[in-house]
Amino acid sequence: MNISFIMNNDIVLQMQHISKTFPGVVALEDVCLELRRGEVHVLLGENGAGKSTLVKILSGAYQKSSGEIFIEGEKTEIKNPKQAQELGISIIYQELNLVSQLSAAENIFLGKEPVKTFGVIDFKKLFAQSQQLLDELGVRINSKSLIKNLGIAEQQMVEVAKALSFRSKILIMDEPTSALTEEEIKELFQTIKRLKKKGVAIIYISHRIEELFEIGDKVTVLRDGKYIDTKNIAETNSAELIRLMVNRELNEQFPKQVAKKGDEILRVESLAKKNKLYDINFCLYQGEVLGIAGLLGSGRTELARAIFGIDKIDAGKIIIKGQRKNLTSPRDSINLGIGLLTEDRKSQGLVLNLSLRDNICLPNLDMFSNYGVVNSQQENLTAKKYIRELRIKTPSFKQKVINLSGGNQQKVVVSKWLCSQADILIFDEPTRGIDVGSKVEIYQLMNQLTAAGVGIIMISSELPEILGMSDRILVMCQGRINGEFTRQEATPEKILQRALGVVDDQ
């Protein structure tokens, strides 16, 4: 037995020269990937780079067009998801696949429940075995808890336990941290480290470059469906990775341009909503980006919903352009020039099955119609105008938005509100799930908007984004505004202290 044999023995998975074509599109071209036992291998690339396609080939959801896959040195064809599972490959998708009315244990063993005679489920065994799996992960979850009573992070752990119940050798995690808080991310990383020690190989997909340095061992970069490079994490840095991903130097991740501050366009006075918001006071000026920082559940989204007229407020005043307004529906707010880019584009911001044009014109149909009859000609021109101005990548305005990338979808949402002549825009997590290149485009768009006199309220969980793009920053904590900083004063430490409530205002 020589050394190279031992080393080879360490390789769990080899994907060689993998290509995948869809009718008319080459999604993957000659991509290679090598995965070792106990390694966290990060797949990095912009949206549409081919990460998901590669992973779907591995999990049996897609069939490769050419290339070879070796699992522990043996050439293998993965024909369907079930076979992938049997080969020890498990995948945890961004959207969790759990039955919320069942317990953690029932979910972990769904489809392979231990049974007694006559097919009666052996619940004692079921709960005991799943508890053991959860304990091994080092998480404190009772296997009898119903999924609906667990937090997102805990549900994710149940998914991990489920994957382990298949004795998985390869675990694929697709953007596992996108819905987690800082604290939960730490716990997840602890669990990942435990899995590494057990020898599980992990393919980790994420947009958050900072994360990779904390958790990854190796990183493979894909761009436009092609293999670019594989690096040891210890030997690279974020500037290099970004350059590999986008093939251009991103000297400035936040291309902030300070615009001229104009008149006050929005003022909120003593706004309150029972159990959600307390005594909120602030104002917004033309040409300004007002960042709102805070932890999940600090009331940021509730504030946005109140200003947009979705939820009724219990007390306080909303003053728009000097006039007190009573907002009772989104329609009222839109008519007053407010636009909301929701936290969740797909479930709240867009009708995915409709075209670009239909989505852009949805809030503005009154503009394009007489007596309820829509003038399509005018709509088409408008849609084309925004596609051009915002450089939305699409073959045509008739394209369904479901087929666009995250960044382009966000541009469609922005177009909606530009079209409605909004001059107060609320961006709730504007770059969540958007790749680095498109992020910069969204920031540049914000610059253009503020230069044109629009006032922007930007809610974000990403501190660098808050610090990089805001002119002024409000920090929310437990439904209150707990601190205000100018761009110059703000530091990550100061904001975090206020967000956590360690330091109180005044």
């Binding site: 947009f308 979705i310 529906s329 989104p330 329609r331 707010s333 839109i334 008519n335 909301l340 929701t342 479930s347 709240q348 911001g349 867009l350 009708v351 995915l352 099955n353 409709l354 239909d358 014109c361 949805l362 809030p363 149909l365 009154d366 119609s369 309820g372 009859v373 829509v374 399509s376 909606k416």
Partner: protein
């Protein structure tokens, strides 16, 4: 648009049309009577009522709803219409009364669904029973028969070679096509069915437009009642039983998704015609009505299976 694009965009409708075409050829081979002008007009006439109800159903299903009460609303509108005709109300006014009764029932569905936040299935299931009961109560369970020739002209009349019901159907389809594709109501119907939350946050008055769609559906049931009453020269409180299923079937065969947000008027017309041609053909061939039910049920299932396979392939 190239021909390839055309096929990609309209594949579903072309598929249904192809199905109708194949069905026609098979029946043409099997029965010499099938492809005669009089038989084809006969099919169109028999299809008209279901096709008109299916238009309303299409709107409702596009908003991700369902209306189980169309058959009962038809019966109730029919008996009210008949009673005002008997009271010597002028025919045009009586027709308006019939349409308004249907509209009111539909609107009530809409209000229960929007303001009452009931699931459409429950609200219209309730209405199905209430409207049926109302029709029976109103007539004490007896049919109302015998109307003037001018009213009966709506079913028996012909304009050129085209029977009046067919003409009404064509007009309804043209208007519905226009509404669905060219008006706010149509666009909002797709948006509400596709993503109600996003529509609401885009400032769409979701409640108003949803209620309007159910009102429209009810009104079209009222129109179907006018034609049926004229054709039978009688309004029966038990008319329209199971019509909801025929209308849903025509809509679904026509490619409208029960998940909402998708569907076309033309597809529904083809769907209704497939149902009509199938019934007619099976009758011509002397197939028993028991077997007919099995065949029609199977066609619905096969149509949706084919639809799903097509969509999967597209992905």
């Amino acid at each position: 648009m190239t021909s390839r694009d055309f096929i990609l965009h309209h594949g579903r409708q072309l598929g249904t049309l192809f199905g109708l075409f194949v069905l026609g050829i098979v029946l043409w081979i099997l029965s010499p009577f099938f492809l005669t002008v009089s038989n084809l007009l006969n099919i169109a006439q028999q299809t008209a009522i279901n096709a008109i109800i299916a238009v309303g159903m299409t709107f409702v299903i596009i908003t991700a709803g369902i209306d189980l009460s169309v058959g009962s609303i038809l019966a109730f509108s029919g008996v009210v219409l008949a009673s005002v005709l008997k009271a010597d109300l002028p025919v045009p006014l009586a027709i308006i009364v019939g349409l308004m009764v249907g509209f009111a029932c539909g609107l009530l569905n809409g209000i229960l669904i929007t303001i009452g936040r009931l699931p459409p299935f429950i609200s219209t299931l309730g209405m199905m029973s209430v409207a049926r009961g109302a029709a029976l109560l109103y007539t004490q369970g007896r049919p109302i028969s015998g109307f003037s020739d001018s009213f009966r002209f709506l079913a028996s009349g012909e304009i050129g070679p085209i029977p009046a019901p067919v003409l009404i159907m064509i007009v309804v389809y043209i208007i519905a096509f226009f509404i669905l594709n060219k008006t706010k109501l149509g666009r909002y119907a797709y948006a509400i069915g596709g993503n109600e939350e996003a529509a609401l946050l885009s400032g769409v008055n979701v409640r108003f437009f949803k209620a309007a769609v159910y009102g429209l559906c009810g009104m079209l049931s009222g129109l179907a009642a006018v034609i049926l009453t004229a054709r039978l020269n009688s309004a029966q409180p038990i008319a329209g039983m199971m019509y909801e299923l025929d209308a849903i079937a025509a809509t679904v065969i026509g490619g409208t998704s029960l998940m909402g947000g998708e569907g076309t008027i033309l597809g529904t017309l083809i769907g209704a015609l497939i149902m009509g041609v199938l019934r007619n053909g099976l009758n011509l061939l002397g197939v028993s009505s028991f077997v007919q039910q099995i065949v029609i049920g199977s066609v619905i299932i096969i149509a949706v299976l084919a639809d799903m396979a097509l969509k999967k392939q597209k992905k």
